[in-house]
Symmetry: C2
Subunit: 304 residues, 2 copies
């Protein structure tokens, strides 16, 4: 029996799972073992690595993994198997993570970034089953994306495809940390919406993107304006992506998709208006939630 | 000896060519026969079809084509082999063009739209040889695009991929015929730049995109502003496309690319600033000029 170990290095949490391939071939998405721990506020790559290895050995309980799949929360050069960096955790610059993990567990290792892994997970096990061409977008702390094209993952020339978060949709919009103005991420991500609300309301601390969505639902006009602007930016980004690539499905994941019916209406309407009439698309919520990258890591091992 | 017939149905001109496959396998891009005629101002699909068939028989001079490749200037459903419509010539709605041509010439026929065909032509014979992932953009009467991804043409779910001309880059920009504001085509195409110049200058007739480029080079401030805005819009579109798909090369074709060194500088600088630093790209001129779609039609037959 094949036993696959999968690891998800998030910006703030580490998750590991073990799955019997016999089980997932039967169509049942169940973990043999599964555990999530949180990274300390000032951790680094070394801490994350040691904590993850301990977690994995705990889940394996002495058995041997036949393969390891890794989802990493940051840019990865898939061709060379190198983590480029993490935007959240120090010390990840140019780390050959698959090599280190292969040495630890003495087996084959595959890696991808979390958005690509989530796209693969949703395509193989979730909302995108049977779809040949899809774009997965996570709308969360940041906004990222991953492609399935022609029934397989598409990563681009040097594994940088899918960065819809830094598509400019409003060149006169607010400045983004990336150096440009009016990126999708700058307008649609949770922390940026929270920061914009805090700035206009004068309330400086502790507001989250979720709070903005709740205040908008309660009738707060400024919160509603910020939330609608985020949904509009995402909708323009989706419509532009549809004009460029003509996928038949766009899957949305991440915490911000829980912002309510009105948010979904604005995203869908704006995308429909931005895309050409002949290039329409289904925009649907992710089915696997926070575990999409982990299931994608399972699929990574399966397909390689 | 295999002899391929290729047909390019443009909006205002019809071009046909005949090529010996033995010749192009040798790397020499030479036509055995080649001819271009212009469509009348108020022609229709029936006229174009009859004129093209006559042209093809003239070039074949009694010999039989082993295959026919077609480039069509408008959206084509490649899966069903149906021309959707032409934006320039009446009567092309839902025409099964390959079927008609196959019946006329009694051989296998392949078709694609002109931007996809040009992308394929540049990839197989022109500026994109050896490149796995590229975007071809024609900047002309309209702005259209075609993809080569993973070393093969990518057309999307229903052959609508590549429509970079209707990517919105300035939501507060001028209205486009497509119903949106600030599309790449609305700002960067020749006729729209000419129309904008005519409107601001009060000169109403006979101005072309080429005139705007010449006036800009001669120091006319308004012409320069319009040309720079077009180059900026195209650059943002390219940068956004690079963030989404991470191609290693973007090839620019069409008459507007002859707008001078300054136009190229603005396009390249804006694209570089819009793309993430890790996803850089070479932006190069097309090598095959107006014949790119026709050479793409040769490649269409070759690869099918």
């Amino acid at each position: 029996m094949a036993m696959v170990l999968v690891l998800d290095f998030g910006g703030t949490k580490l998750t590991a799972g073990v799955v019997d391939t016999a089980v997932y071939h039967s169509g049942s998405l169940t973990w043999r073992a599964y555990k999530r721990v949180y990274s300390p506020a000032h951790g680094d790559a070394r801490f994350d690595m040691e904590a993850m290895v301990a977690l994995a050995h705990e889940l394996l309980a002495g058995e041997k993994a036949t393969a390891v799949g890794i989802s990493f929360g940051g840019p990865v050069d898939v061709a060379t198997g190198t983590v480029r960096l993490s935007h959240h955790v120090a010390g990840w610059e140019n780390v050959p993570l698959p090599e280190i993990v292969a040495s630890e567990f003495q087996t084959v290792v595959r890696i991808d970034n979390d958005a690509n892994a989530a796209a693969l997970g949703e395509w193989r096990f979730g909302a995108g089953r049977g779809v040949a061409d899809l774009l997965y977008i996570t709308v969360s702390t940041g906004v990222g994306g991953g492609w399935i094209l022609g029934g397989r993952p598409f990563r681009g020339y040097n594994s940088m495809a899918g960065e819809i978060g830094h598509m400019v949709v409003d060149p006169a919009g607010p400045h983004c940390l990336c150096g440009k103005r009016g990126c999708v991420e700058r307008l649609a991500s949770g922390p940026y919406m929270a920061a914009d609300w805090a700035e206009t309301s004068g309330q400086q601390e502790g507001v989250t993107g979720q709070d903005v969505a709740i205040m908008a639902a309660q009738g707060n006009r400024e919160a509603r304006r910020i939330l609608e602007r985020g949904a509009w930016a995402l909708g323009v980004g989706i419509g532009n992506a549809v004009n460029l690539m003509n996928p038949s499905q766009v899957i949305l994941g991440g915490g911000v998709i829980k912002s309510g019916v009105h948010w979904w209406e604005v995203v869908r309407r704006t995308a429909r208006e931005t895309a050409l009439p002949q290039a329409q698309v289904d925009i649907v919520p992710a089915a696997l939630g926070d575990d999409a990258p982990l299931w994608g890591a399972v699929a990574l091992v399966e397909t390689t």
